[in-house]
Symmetry: C2
Subunit: 299 residues, 2 copies
């Protein structure tokens, strides 16, 4: 990869706002993306895990991406989640992204069937790239086995990158297992290696990694950005740990939305799609009080 379609630095796995009936709120989605860019986030990654991507239909995900573009987000500021349980849907979303000028796609493997062999994982991504058949595609493989149940291990990724050097651009490693990330830096140093687990960022950047696509950037981009500096201060690492200690007491996705609601003063942000439940009022109060007590901005 020597083109300028890289994903480097601080990218946000953006939350997806929904209305009381669960419908995608496109205007609020674009507004949130603009806010993040104004705060110095390099780009947005809609429809990932934090963005409840798998909870939206292909039609909804197409509309959401188009809403971002209409809302003034440039294609180069987007890496869009296009992976679905059905490769038919993944293909449709990936082609749609390319038709709209968005080259970078973050792709989950099909995630219903378990215990896939490495050959099967290789084959499914190879099938995707072959069928898309578009050299503009920049594929970011999404390794998050705790949700997808399908790991894309470093040797499989290397095999894929060797077979499709033009297209395979990077990997988001959200497993939170540094051993795997270190092996990625060793096996695919020419790709953009990104992590989802924020505390690993200082090690990642020292090892030549690219940056992060992460959920915390929705609410505390500055705390994440501090971990991308050349010389990370111990206080900045402690600040992240402090936030994560509070977060660990709540389901992460409802918690992110509750923080965003508190910061923005817009309670509508609290709504989630099934299968997530909105955070109970008492938990919300506890979360906000805990963060405020620790000096975090909660509006």
């Amino acid at each position: 990869m020597t083109d300028d379609n890289r994903v480097r630095g601080l990218w946000c796995a953006t939350l997806t706002p929904v209305g009381p009936d669960g419908s995608l709120d496109e205007a609020r989605m674009a507004g949130h993306a603009r806010d993040l860019l104004a705060k110095g986030v390099e780009g947005v990654a809609p429809f990932g895990t934090t963005g409840e991507g798998p909870s939206f239909s292909v039609t909804e995900r197409r509309s959401g991406l188009e809403a971002l573009l209409r809302g003034g987000i440039a294609p180069r500021q987007i890496v869009v989640g296009t992976g679905c349980a059905s490769l038919t849907d993944t293909l449709a979303l990936t082609r749609h992204a390319l038709e709209n000028g968005v080259a970078r796609c973050l792709v989950l493997p099909p995630f219903f069937y378990k215990n896939l062999s490495d050959d099967a994982v290789y084959a499914l991504y190879a099938t995707l790239v072959d069928r898309v058949a578009d050299s503009r595609l920049r594929l970011y493989v999404y390794h998050i086995p705790q949700f997808s149940s399908v790991g894309i291990w470093p040797d499989t990724l290397r095999r894929l990158a060797d077979a499709y050097p033009q297209v395979v651009a990077g990997v988001k490693d959200s497993a939170g297992d540094w051993t795997n990330t270190a092996r990625l830096l060793d096996r695919v140093p020419h790709l953009d290696v990104l992590v989802g687990h924020e505390p690993d960022l200082p090690k990642l950047m020292r090892g030549g990694g690219a940056g992060t696509i992460c959920g915390i950037a929705n609410v505390y981009p500055d705390i994440v950005r501090a971990l991308l500096a050349r010389d990370v201060a111990a206080a900045d690492e402690a600040r992240m740990a402090q936030f994560l200690a509070v977060l660990a007491r709540f389901p992460f996705l409802p918690a992110f939305k509750a923080i965003k609601a508190a910061q923005s003063g817009d309670a509508a942000w609290n709504a989630l799609r099934p299968p997530w439940l909105d955070l109970a009022d008492s938990a919300r109060t506890d979360l906000v009080a805990s963060l405020r007590g620790a000096g975090f901005d909660v509006g």
Copy 2:
């Protein structure tokens, strides 16, 4: 449930034939269903786990159901898998089934996010039923946590059945854990309790269960049917065990398709959708020889 929309006896979780390019082969799909009904199977359950349901798009799944109906399968002979990762898609497929006269839907929970609370599981099915808002619906809940990662436990199902007594009709318990099945017979005896794990059938039927929706019926319906008899012969249980001992050496889905290919003399049956790989030639030869050696019909 006192209507005649029950799922009882031997139902087949039908394989979905695909072409070399992975496209759904509708004609062969309907032909396979007719063959099964001719062999005395009570009905067919397309787009379950064995039917690679999650690997097909909403559009493809609609077309497949319509192909069955056009192909002469009656709505009362169908329980259709409509559960998807996105509830939007589940809703679309469930409504489509009802519009086509198919009342019985076998519904997976959204299966990307893990560790859902029982309240969240209840809420997602309640949301589905509320939004479909059609008293014709007969909901069969699909408990297969080893794939979906989301269990619908007996107490949750009871709560759902109490809230929607007209609509909640049954459960397919494919976990293969008899303790759970026994608890279902205790907690929801008025529902159709079906199992996917065939060896549990004699116990299930003695306990007042309804029957099975299973994959083995694609290739050996008689062996499954024997386990539904009032007095099951030990030889019939041994026959099932013998088949399962062979099957355990191969990935189950490619193995079912390979057996069907051998029985029908139609090698096209071997094809699967990603993320599954077709069985290697050597494994196929081994499988067929092993079954033939044990006296099973492989064409």
